[in-house]
């Protein structure tokens, strides 16, 4: 087994502009993802909006996310799975994969033994 993070990126303005119905559909999709993934999900959280981020660069503390891009990190899951294909099948259930303004980045987690 190996650990993967699923990093969910998207346009914060579009996330905030979601109607209550869209928000509910979004949450339902995430519930479906968690149900399908089962105990392969070993962690994960939704993050507050990128405008609440604080960045440390060297000794300078500044307001905002690390990179000034349109798409910001909105949340993450930590998954344990056998291989990348297993993760890909699950990750395709995430609603952010289908929305035009967002996407999911899958990164293996370094195994420090």
């Amino acid at each position: 087994m190996a650990k993967y993070t699923l990093l969910i990126y998207g346009d914060p303005a579009q996330w905030e502009a979601m109607t209550p119905e869209q928000r509910r559909a979004h949450d339902v999709a995430h519930e479906e993802f968690r149900a399908a993934a089962g105990d392969r999900v070993i962690g994960g959280q939704e993050l507050e909006s990128a405008s609440t981020a604080t960045t440390l660069r060297g000794f300078t503390t500044s307001d905002g996310p690390f990179l000034e891009t349109k798409e910001a990190l909105g949340g993450f899951y930590l998954l344990e799975a056998h291989d990348l294909d297993e993760v890909l099948v699950l990750a395709k259930l995430l609603p952010e994969v289908r929305a035009g303004h967002s996407g999911v980045e899958i990164r293996p987690v370094v195994d420090h033994g």
């Binding site: 056998h82 291989d83 990348l84 294909d85």
Partner: protein
């Protein structure tokens, strides 16, 4: 009596992927499997010289590579446990070669990584050869292979044939890569020779393997058909003096009729139950050319029609549009061809594509617009890096320059 070198070269072409793929099953590690496969071929050179060529060279090589791998693993049992596992425990027994191809062309790898891995691991081409074919330095290619293999190991890209529901999507990059290997060999992007037969032969071999393993896959059948019909004409593409010969000037008796017939039969088969795909339409175009008794008797109306279908299937690819314009020129005359090419001169994707300038040059010279034709040949010359093509273009420009001078009124 075949020499050991010939037998080994043949075994390299035909069996490399199988030997490597079987060895990966033992080592569960691509690097180690590759090393053991190389060792087996080196061992073959020595042993076959002494004991003669075995009856089944592929089986011999597989056995030696496997044994070598088992030796290494026994010695390094502790290390092995720490090596990343390539094999998923759930994989069903199937063809090892197929798994190897699907691993190398996994969509999580970039196209350049897919190509490098497939050429190196599945075709068994040397790092130097792959680097030369794809215009990168050897260290760059070696680094690319290392990164790709590292990603396979750390991201755990499975060593498996995808399940049926994912097959169509996963097959696409595989076919793209095989096709890219073939086209790179068909007109080498650089260097002294027009054709890199090692690349085209590897690509055809790979497509044959895929077709053997998935005989009912329409895109696989179509790709094999396309490559066979195209490859069948390769002996006629270069003259005795090494010069490039275009279709009208080729000696059609040099075309490999057997290969053309095989390709056309496959194409018919792929079109029987399936809608046309990019590869099947390209194969159909190649087949119309291959079946025309002479250049003059080519069915240009049919070819223009097929290019129109292809244009739709490729989402208006500018290169397809260029080929269609050229076909229009042969159907309706050079003025029509030139008019069809005109809108493409503003296409950014074709700005550095030598064949646009070359096609314009040809139509201009047919129309007697010699000065403009020479300028267009000059543009094409600047853009091509293949020496055979350069010689061809330079000779063309020189011919019309001389013809132009002769046409000038000469004082008696």
């Amino acid at each position: 009596m075949t020499s050991v070198a010939d037998a080994l070269a043949q075994a390299h072409r035909r069996d490399w992927a199988q030997v490597l793929a079987t060895t990966v099953q033992v080592t569960r590690d691509l690097d180690l499997a590759e090393e053991c496969t190389q060792d087996a071929y080196a061992q073959a050179l020595r042993t076959w010289e002494r004991d003669g060529i075995p009856e089944r060279p592929g089986a011999w090589l597989t056995r030696v590579a496997r044994n070598r791998a088992l030796d290494v693993l026994r010695r390094e049992e502790a290390l092995r446990r720490r090596l990343p596992l390539l094999v998923s425990p759930g994989t069903t027994p199937g063809d090892d070669r197929l798994r190897l191809i699907f691993t190398c062309c996994h969509p999580a790898l970039s196209r350049e990584h897919q190509v490098a891995l497939t050429a190196r691991l599945v075709c068994g081409l040397s790092t130097a050869d792959v680097a030369r074919a794809f215009l990168v330095s050897e260290p760059t290619l070696a680094a690319r292979l290392t990164r790709a293999k590292k990603k396979i190991a750390t991201a755990r890209i499975p060593y498996a044939v995808p399940p049926p529901e994912a097959l169509a999507e996963r097959l696409e990059p595989v076919l793209e890569v095989v096709h890219l290997l073939f086209t790179t060999g068909h007109t080498a992007p650089t260097g002294p020779s027009l054709i890199r037969a090692d690349l085209t032969a590897s690509a055809v071999q790979l497509a044959r393997t895929l077709h053997l393993l998935m005989p009912r896959s329409a895109p696989v059948t179509a790709l094999l058909a396309l490559m066979l019909v195209t490859d069948a004409r390769s002996a006629a593409r270069v003259g005795a003096d090494g010069r490039l010969l275009l279709l009208p000037d080729q000696d059609r008796t040099l075309w490999n009729r057997e290969r053309i017939a095989e390709g056309v039969a496959l194409l018919t088969d792929s079109l029987r139950h399936h809608p046309p795909s990019r590869f099947s339409v390209e194969a159909a175009i190649a087949a119309v050319h291959a079946e025309a008794p002479t250049w003059e008797q080519t069915d240009w109306a049919e070819i223009v029609g097929l290019y129109t279908v292809l244009l739709r299937l490729t989402g208006n690819s500018p290169v397809v549009a260029l080929n269609r314009a050229v076909a229009i020129g042969f159907r309706d005359g050079p003025a029509a061809g030139l008019a069809a090419l005109e809108p493409l001169t503003a296409e950014p994707a074709l700005a550095t594509y030598p064949y646009l300038a070359a096609a314009r040059a040809d139509f201009l010279s047919r129309l007697g617009r010699t000065g403009e034709a020479i300028t267009a040949y000059g543009e094409a010359l600047v853009l091509t890096a293949n020496e055979t093509e350069r010689d061809f273009l330079a000779a063309r420009a020189e011919t019309i320059r001389r013809r132009g001078r002769r046409a000038d009124p000469q004082p008696e």
